[in-house]
Assembly symmetry: C2
Homo-oligomer: 221 residues x 2
Amino acid sequence: MPSLTAENYLKTIYHLLEQEPDGVTTNTLAASLSIKPATVTDMLRKLSTDKLVKHEKYYGVTLTDKGRKTALEIIRRHRLWEVFLAQKLQFAWDEVHDMAEQLEHVQSDELIERLDKFLGYPKTDPHGDPIPDKRGKISIHDFKPLCVLTQKQTGVISGVTEHSPSFLQYLEKNGLSLGNEIEVMEVHAFDMSADVKLNQKKVIHLSYDVTKNILIKQHGK
Amino acid sequence: MPSLTAENYLKTIYHLLEQEPDGVTTNTLAASLSIKPATVTDMLRKLSTDKLVKHEKYYGVTLTDKGRKTALEIIRRHRLWEVFLAQKLQFAWDEVHDMAEQLEHVQSDELIERLDKFLGYPKTDPHGDPIPDKRGKISIHDFKPLCVLTQKQTGVISGVTEHSPSFLQYLEKNGLSLGNEIEVMEVHAFDMSADVKLNQKKVIHLSYDVTKNILIKQHGK
DNA sequence: AAACTATTTTAGGCTAATCTAAATTATTTT
DNA sequence: AAAATAATTTAGATTAGCCTAAAATAGTTT
Ligand SMILES: [Mn+2]
Ligand SMILES: [Mn+2]
Ligand SMILES: [Mn+2]
Ligand SMILES: [Mn+2]
């Protein structure tokens, strides 16, 4: 029964550990939560006491099994609510995150089970991110950033690594939604931008800032 | 933008004013919120500063127009979520309240509008209580407690004034759900209990504690 | 009208979550 | 290896929301 605040710490630590698996620093966590490092240190002491994190003073923090399980529960709730908002209430994929940030803290296991069933047990959220099952098991995909594909390689847009409304709206406007096929026509060495063919039709030009944040499931893989 | 705590005060004051229209006392409010009177006095000062309530020291508190509007928004959210839980997630009417207590605090006007639409603009919640519209307009019914009906009078079960799971489960078990027809066969003077015919079939015996909490829409009214 | 009782408010304290400023520790540069 | 710099922790303070105990007020009884 962690507080809403503690839940947000655990979730954020979980996400940051995906980039820095052997420990998240106090500053990184503070920046991510938009609070001061001193506040983070305080909370890490409490989370340590509750055996949710392991904090090596002056080095960094990682999750315990208990902490990881809790984080995955929150992520499960967040992503199921996002599916609900997108599929049932017809919100666009750039609109669902902020509401899910609130809904994820509603405490009721039964509610989440029923919601899962109501949604038809979805495996991914509107951004292509996998939804952990009720036991905290999460499937890991081997999607690659579009920027690592080379000429002639093809695949399906299957996720994003950037969730800001402005980025998602940009993708939507250019027809780059989940499920669409792409083929890399040419990569320009000087700025890493790429020409990409969409659904075997239109060719569009994408900057590196865009291609690095689009995840591709490669064909025949 | 009242806090979650302030929202609960406003909602509770609104409900208590339905019984005591010219002012809710500090003790009543404290009991209703399960906190101490001293704490209530503190919060009432803050809500007064924010022009949400009018507090006459040592007498009682009422809502300002602004406070009433806010309370009705929260009640709207609560009841719409209850409809969602009952109709879409198949929860029983005695299970929805606690989850709605949490969901009602999720802040997003657009979410509530879409939810309302998704549910087909319901006019009442699973307990028969009216759902305020987005402008804070709430329809008032003229349902009467079953206990005031006399022999031979008939009507339809249309609401309850007691929401505890044990009471609601009792009603459910005895077929006393919303929409069912009743006819008063006999009222026993010594304990105010009543024999009531359900859907022109079975006659059941109900104590006063039960009949006073069932609201009836009388036929031809 | 005075005294008593019940209710309400005030005074002073506590905890969770935040902050700023100062002290400490680790890392990098010279 | 010392000094400088950067990151982190500690110390002390603040605010919201709660508490208990004491003081003040209102309502009731004699
Ligand atoms: Mn999200
Ligand atoms: Mn998502
Ligand atoms: Mn309710
Ligand atoms: Mn209800």
